[in-house]
């Protein structure tokens, strides 16, 4: 392709690129800058300082150590959600890729993705109904005679957050794994069987390693956005289930301390970014 093609390509990609730059890169930069400012009641002090970071990371008195607790909890919950989602999703992706007739695959994917696109708020709320004191789960267990009185711990707990988020992100995990499985050459598996490996061992030695890029993508695509959810913790988490996003949200809302919110956002992003980076590096040998 000549120089003309290159410049045409750039001209074409410029609008979306500039838009992403203006609405993403610049605002993210603004968040970082703001995190070095401080707010005293309603006036913004624009002298750059690390005060916010000091308060969040080291001040034992600030919000009852809430930021650190919430950060650790968020990462833990996000991690648990990721593990559950990916583990539960893998067999489904495998089934659709290997056991569904090619012309039916896209229908299956469609059915899997539908719940993901529909009424996020209401879906989360419904989990509250399901897990509630007099909710579906407790009633069923009572009727079965497995329990004598309703279990309150289902709702308003980190477990409830994990369950709800796992449900919400299910398709996000299935799709990348499915794509990776689809890319595996079927004759490769036949070759392995032909070389005397059983079904299970073929899976362990050929299919699973070859699908690792999909698994890694699934992990990232679930883990990163999960940190940013404040609806689920708020609705089903209870006080012990709140996450860092709730704190960030309240800084911009009720507490009206935008610089502190920005600081928390930066710290959350940095933590997620770092963990993701470490994860990618650790799984390099399977994904290359």
């Amino acid at each position: 392709m000549g120089h003309g093609e290159t410049s045409k390509g750039w001209a074409l990609i410029a609008p979306p690129a500039l838009y992403a730059l203006a609405l993403l890169a610049l605002p993210l930069g603004a968040v970082v800058v703001l995190s070095f400012f401080t707010q005293d009641f309603l006036t913004l002090d624009t002298t750059p300082t690390l005060e916010n970071y000091r308060i969040v990371l080291t001040d034992p008195g600030f919000a009852g150590q809430l930021p650190r607790t919430l950060l650790v909890r968020s990462v833990t919950i996000a991690g648990l959600v990721t593990v559950c989602t990916v583990l539960l999703a893998y067999p489904v992706a495998y089934y659709v890729s290997f056991h569904v007739a090619p012309e039916r695959k896209s229908l299956w994917l469609f059915l899997i993705t539908i719940p993901f696109w529909t009424s996020y708020l209401v879906r989360v709320f419904l989990w509250k109904v399901i897990l509630n004191f007099d909710g579906v789960v407790n009633r069923t267990l009572l009727n079965l005679g497995w329990i004598d009185e309703p279990i309150r711990a289902f709702l308003y707990s980190p477990a409830a957050v994990v369950i709800t988020l796992t449900h919400a992100f299910a398709p996000f995990a299935i799709l990348p794994i499915f794509v990776a499985l689809e890319k595996i050459d079927r004759p490769l598996l036949e070759a392995s069987r032909d070389l005397g490996e059983g079904t299970l061992r073929t899976f362990a030695r050929v299919t699973l390693p070859l699908s690792m890029p999909g698994v890694v993508a699934a992990v990232l695509i679930v883990f990163i956005p999960t940190i940013g959810d404040y609806v689920t913790p708020r609705l089903v988490g209870g006080p012990d289930g709140l996450m860092i996003a709730n704190l960030i949200q309240s800084q911009f809302g009720r507490l009206s301390n935008a610089p502190m919110g920005a600081t928390l956002a930066v710290i959350a992003m940095a933590s997620v970014g770092l963990i993701s980076l470490l994860f990618v590096l650790a799984t390099r040998r399977w994904t290359r």
């Binding site: 390509g9 896209s106 994917l109 940013g228 911009f252």
Partner: protein
């Protein structure tokens, strides 16, 4: 044997995936005020309540305005990106495409917060639907690109060249050949972006200002137990609407695949 177990698992998984949504109509048509079992009998009164609720109507209108404008803008940007990546190879292409696709994995609260800071603190402007639109375009564009890339990539580059060769101008070739061939993909991505924007809450909550969108309005309702049955009824309608929109999107996407004479293999992503 093991295949049977796998099927059983998948069926169970799918059932659980749909379980919460399945509860929606059950409670929406339940006569009781409390969202719990046992059910109180059949009633359509919650749906009737929706007809007369003025605040709800204005929230719905806001959401429709936001969804229509953001989906159109996102798809226009998506067409540019998808075509650029399918048609041209240039240095830095991967990085630029990466930047456009990043909102796909970015936590939504980060998008909400950062746009909020720019609007409020940097520009000093009042919040409003336009800010929601701006942010929705950002998060919808990657989905549009994902859907449109399939359409553009499967287009034989010789197709447009043939049109040029037969005497068309560049724009004429694009309009009479490329556009009709990717039209189903465009419609599909419009519908998907519309659905995403209509349903988006986390960002809208930060940016919506005084006139709420529908999800922000619903969020408000969730605090009042008395309003919950209304939420159920509203949710039922919204889920129905989403399913209809997405089914249409899927039909268009497949028609596009068939028209371009390619084998259909994947879903939206």
């Amino acid at each position: 044997m093991s295949r049977r177990w796998l099927l059983l698992y998948v069926v169970l998984y799918m059932a659980l995936l749909y379980a919460p949504i399945a509860l929606l109509p059950i409670f929406a048509f339940n006569d009781g005020q409390v969202i719990a079992f046992p059910l109180q009998g059949f009633s359509t009164r919650w749906f009737e309540g929706l007809w007369t609720n003025r605040t709800l109507h204005s929230a719905l209108w806001n959401s429709l305005v936001v969804a229509v404008i953001s989906s159109v803008l996102a798809v226009v940007l998506g067409i540019c990106a998808a075509r650029a990546s399918a048609r041209y190879a240039f240095r830095g292409q991967g990085a630029v495409m990466g930047m456009i696709m990043v909102p796909l994995v970015l936590p939504e609260i980060i998008v909400g917060v950062s746009v909020l800071i720019v609007v409020n603190t940097v520009l000093g402007l009042p919040l409003g639907l336009w800010a929601v639109i701006a942010a929705h375009v950002l998060i919808c564009t990657p989905f549009a690109v994902a859907v449109l890339s399939g359409a553009f990539q499967s287009l034989d580059p010789a197709m447009e060249e043939a049109a040029r060769d037969l005497g068309e101008t560049p724009w004429g070739a694009f309009r009479t050949v490329t556009l009709p061939l990717v039209a189903p993909g465009i419609v599909a991505s419009l519908l998907i972006c519309f659905t995403i924007s209509l349903d988006e809450f986390i960002i809208a909550f930060f940016l919506t200002g005084a006139s709420p969108t529908l999800p922000v309005y619903i969020w408000g309702l969730l605090r009042f137990p008395a309003d919950l049955p209304i939420v159920m009824a509203l949710g039922t309608l919204l889920v129905l609407a989403s399913i209809v929109l997405l089914t249409m999107a899927e039909i268009f996407r497949r028609r596009g695949a068939a028209r371009a004479g390619r084998k259909d293999s994947g879903g939206f992503l």
